[in-house]
C-alpha cells in the first residue's frame, strides 16, 4: 500500500491534535464511534443521546411497523419550537397590533412568510401525526402491560397538543381566529355546573377580547409547552423503562441478542432521515401554500360559516344534531376517559406487536368501518331531510339528549351483537369499537370541512362559499 498523500496526512495530524487535546477530551470522553466500545460510550455519555438505548432490536427499525410516526410528531414539535421562538420576535398579543404584525411578517420580514407558514403547517402536521401515531400504537396492541401508563401519558399528550393548536389559533386575530375561538369557548361554557366559570376563566372576560388574547398567548408560549415537555420527557423515559418499542414475541434481533443493532449509527441514521423528511415536507408546503389570513377580527360581523379548526370540526358537526353540552363537553370527555381505559380492559399479553391482532382482527376492523360509515352518513342525511325535531320536539330534552344518546347506545350495542357470534377476544372487540369511532370521527370531520356552507347548511363541496374551509 502506498503512503497516504501529503494533504491527507496533514488533515489526519490536525484531527489527531484536536482529538487528543485536553479541551476536546474534557467534553467528549470517548473516541469516534467506529468501535463497538465507543458506540456504547457515545450513547451513554452524550446528554443529547443518552435517552436512547445502546442497542436496538432490528424490529424497532422496521418502517412498516411504526412508520416513524412518533418521530414525525416529535420532529414537527422541534420545528414548531424553533419557528415559534423566532416568530416571538415579531409578534405582540395586542388586539391593535397582532393582526398587523402577522401582515408584517408576511410582507416585510425576510423569511417571515416562510416562518409563519412553517409554523402553521407544522401545527397541522403534528396533530395529524399524533392521531396516526396513537392509532398505530393501538392497532399493534402496544398499550399492553407494561406499557399501560405510557398509553395514558400519550392520551394526555394528545390533549395538550390539541390545546396548543387551539390557543395558537387565536393569535393572528383575524376573522377565522376570532369566531373559531368564540364558538369553541361557548362549547366549553356548556359544561354542566362549572361551564360558565371555566369559560370566563379561559376568556379572561365576558367575550373574546384583549384579555383572551393575552391569556391564550401565555398558555401557548409557556404554560402548555412546559406541560408538553414534562409529559414528553416522561413518555420517552417510559419507553426505555418498558423495554423499548414493542415487538411481537419471537421477533428477530431482540435487544439482548447478538444480532441487535447499535443505535449509533443505525437508529440515529433513521432518526436523521425522518427529521430531514419532515423538514423537506414542511419546507415545500410552506413555500407552495400560504397560511390563511382573513380580514382583521370584527366582533360585529360573524364569519359565515363560522367553523372551528379542522380537528374540532367533528365536534362542531356533532353539535348540529344534539345539545351542545352533550356534543361539546360530555362526549369528548367520555371518549378521552374511554381511551385511557383501553390498556386496563385488555389484559391479554400474547398478541403484542401484531397488527390488528391477526387476520381475524383485520376482517373485524374492515367490517366495523363498513358498519359505521354508512350509518353516520345516513344519520346526518336523516337529520337534514327529516330531523329529530319533526318527530318529537317537546320536551326539548328528547331530541337534544335522549334521542342522540339512544342512537349512539343502540348502534354500539348493534355492533356488539354483530360481533358476538364470532366470539371475539377483548382486543378484537376494542379494535371493532375503535375503528367504528375512528371512521365516524373521520366522516364528521370531512362533512364539517367540505359539506357545510353558509349557516352551516348541508351543501355539496363545489358550492362551498369563499372562506368555507378552516385550516
Amino acid at each position: 500500500m502506498l503512503p497516504p498523500p501529503p494533504r491527507r496526512r496533514l488533515l489526519e495530524s490536525i484531527t489527531r491534535r484536536i482529538g487528543q487535546s485536553r479541551v476536546w477530551k474534557s467534553i467528549f470522553r470517548y473516541g469516534y464511534p467506529n468501535t463497538d466500545k465507543n458506540r456504547m460510550l457515545v450513547i451513554l455519555h452524550t446528554f443529547f443521546l443518552h435517552m436512547h438505548s445502546v442497542r436496538v432490536s432490528r424490529h424497532t427499525l422496521k418502517p412498516t411497523y411504526t412508520f416513524g410516526l412518533g418521530l414525525i410528531a416529535f420532529f414537527a414539535c422541534v420545528i414548531l419550537f424553533v419557528t415559534g421562538g423566532l416568530l416571538m420576535f415579531y409578534y405582540l398579543p395586542s388586539v391593535t397590533k397582532a393582526y398587523s404584525d402577522i401582515v408584517n411578517l408576511q410582507t416585510s420580514i425576510p423569511f417571515g412568510d416562510l416562518l409563519r407558514n412553517a409554523h402553521r403547517w407544522g401545527a397541522h402536521l403534528i396533530v395529524l401525526a399524533v392521531i396516526l401515531h396513537g392509532t398505530r400504537v393501538f392497532l399493534t396492541g402496544s398499550y399492553k402491560k407494561p406499557r399501560e401508563f405510557n398509553w395514558v401519558i400519550g392520551v394526555g399528550l394528545f390533549v395538550v397538543t390539541l390545546l396548543l393548536s387551539f390557543t395558537g389559533y387565536l393569535l393572528p386575530w383575524d376573522q377565522l381566529s376570532y369566531w373559531a375561538i368564540t364558538v369553541g369557548s361557548e362549547m366549553a361554557g356548556y359544561a354542566p355546573f362549572i361551564g360558565e366559570q371555566v369559560k370566563n376563566f379561559l376568556l379572561g372576560a365576558r367575550e373574546v377580547g384583549q384579555d383572551t388574547l393575552v391569556r391564550f398567548y401565555a398558555f401557548h408560549i409557556f404554560l402548555l409547552p412546559t406541560l408538553l415537555v414534562l409529559l414528553l420527557g416522561l413518555h420517552f423515559w417510559r419507553i426505555r423503562k418498558d423495554g423499548g418499542v414493542s415487538a411481537p414475541a419471537g421477533a428477530k434481533g431482540g435487544k439482548g441478542r447478538d444480532d441487535a443493532l447499535f443505535s449509533w449509527p443505525y437508529l440515529l441514521v433513521v432518526e436523521a432521515l425522518v427529521f430531514l423528511g419532515v423538514c423537506l415536507f414542511l419546507l415545500l408546503l410552506s413555500v407552495a401554500v400560504d397560511a390563511p389570513l382573513r380580514d382583521i377580527a370584527n366582533p360585529d360581523l360573524p364569519e359565515n360559516p363560522s367553523k372551528a379548526p379542522w380537528f374540532f370540526l367533528n365536534l362542531q358537526e356533532l353539535l348540529l344534531h344534539m345539545s351542545p353540552a352533550l356534543a361539546g363537553v360530555i362526549i369528548p370527555i367520555a371518549l378521552i376517559v374511554l381511551l385511557m381505559a383501553i390498556p386496563y380492559v385488555d389484559r391479554r399479553l400474547e398478541d403484542v406487536g401484531v397488527w390488528f391482532a391477526g387476520k381475524r382482527g383485520k376482517m373485524i376492523a374492515l367490517w366495523s368501518a363498513l358498519y359505521s360509515a354508512p350509518l353516520i352518513v345516513g344519520l346526518i342525511l336523516f337529520d337534514q331531510f327529516v330531523g329529530t325535531k319533526t318527530l318529537v320536539s317537546h320536551p326539548d330534552i328528547i331530541p337534544s339528549w335522549i334521542i342522540p344518546l339512544a342512537t349512539i347506545g343502540g348502534l354500539s350495542l348493534g355492533l356488539y351483537a354483530l360481533l358476538r357470534p364470532l366470539r371475539p377476544s377483548v382486543r378484537e372487540t376494542l379494535i371493532a369499537y375503535f375503528t367504528a369511532f375512528a371512521i365516524a370521527y373521520l366522516i364528521l370531520t370531512v362533512v364539517g370541512l367540505f359539506f357545510r356552507g353558509e349557516g352551516m347548511t348541508l351543501i355539496l363541496p363545489w358550492q362551498l362559499p369563499k372562506g368555507g374551509l378552516s385550516f
Binding site: E186, G209, D211
Partner: protein
C-alpha cells in the same frame, strides 16, 4: 399501648401541612388569574342616548356597548326600554337586527333578530322563535335618568322568558 407514636403523629402532621399548602397555592393562583369582568365596554354605566330619540318599536344597534336597544310599547300604553346583549345564546355569534324580515311579534309588521351562524330567530323581546338557541337573548339593566337612557353593562342578566318587569319604563 394504643395510639400513635410521636413519630407517626409528626409525620402525619407534616404531610397534612404540605397538602394544605399545596391547596392554598392552587387557590391563590386561581384567585390571581380570575377575570374581573369589567374590561372594555363592560362594567360601566353607559349613556346611550335621549329617550325621545328612540321611536316605539324601534331597535337601535349600539356597537360600542355590544347591545341592541329596543323601545317597546307596553300593554298599558306606556313606553319602555330593553337592552339586549347581542350575543346569540347558542354559540356566541353576534346577532344582527334584520329590519326587512317579517316580524315575530305584534309591535310592528317587519323586523326580527336572525343569527347567521345556525339560524336562530328572536323577536323584539329577545325571545327565541326558532332555531337552536336555548334561551332568550340576555339583557343589561336599563335606568331612565331624566332624559337619558342609561345601560349598566356591569351585569349580564339571563332569563327564561320575557316579562314586563324586565323593561325600564319611561
Amino acid at each position: 399501648m394504643q395510639g400513635y407514636s410521636r413519630r407517626e403523629f409528626l409525620t402525619w402532621a407534616w404531610w397534612v401541612s404540605a397538602g394544605l399548602l399545596a391547596v392554598a397555592a392552587v387557590a391563590a393562583a386561581i384567585v390571581n388569574l380570575w377575570p374581573k369582568g369589567n374590561s372594555g365596554p363592560f362594567g360601566r354605566k353607559a349613556n346611550v342616548g335621549k329617550v325621545a330619540s328612540f321611536a316605539p318599536a324601534s331597535v337601535t344597534y349600539i356597537p360600542d356597548y355590544r347591545l341592541h336597544l329596543v323601545c317597546l310599547r307596553l300593554k298599558d300604553g306606556g313606553t319602555g326600554f330593553l337592552a339586549l346583549y347581542r350575543r346569540c345564546t347558542h354559540l356566541g355569534c353576534s346577532v344582527p337586527w334584520v329590519p326587512d324580515e317579517p316580524s315575530e311579534d305584534s309591535l310592528a309588521p317587519l323586523g326580527r333578530f336572525h343569527c347567521p351562524c345556525h339560524g336562530s330567530i328572536y323577536n323584539r323581546y329577545g325571545e327565541v322563535v326558532s332555531g337552536p338557541a336555548p334561551r332568550p337573548l340576555d339583557t343589561f339593566s336599563v335606568t331612565i335618568t331624566g332624559d337619558d337612557v342609561v345601560v349598566d353593562t356591569g351585569k349580564i342578566i339571563r332569563r327564561h322568558k320575557f316579562d314586563e318587569s324586565q323593561v325600564a319604563r319611561v
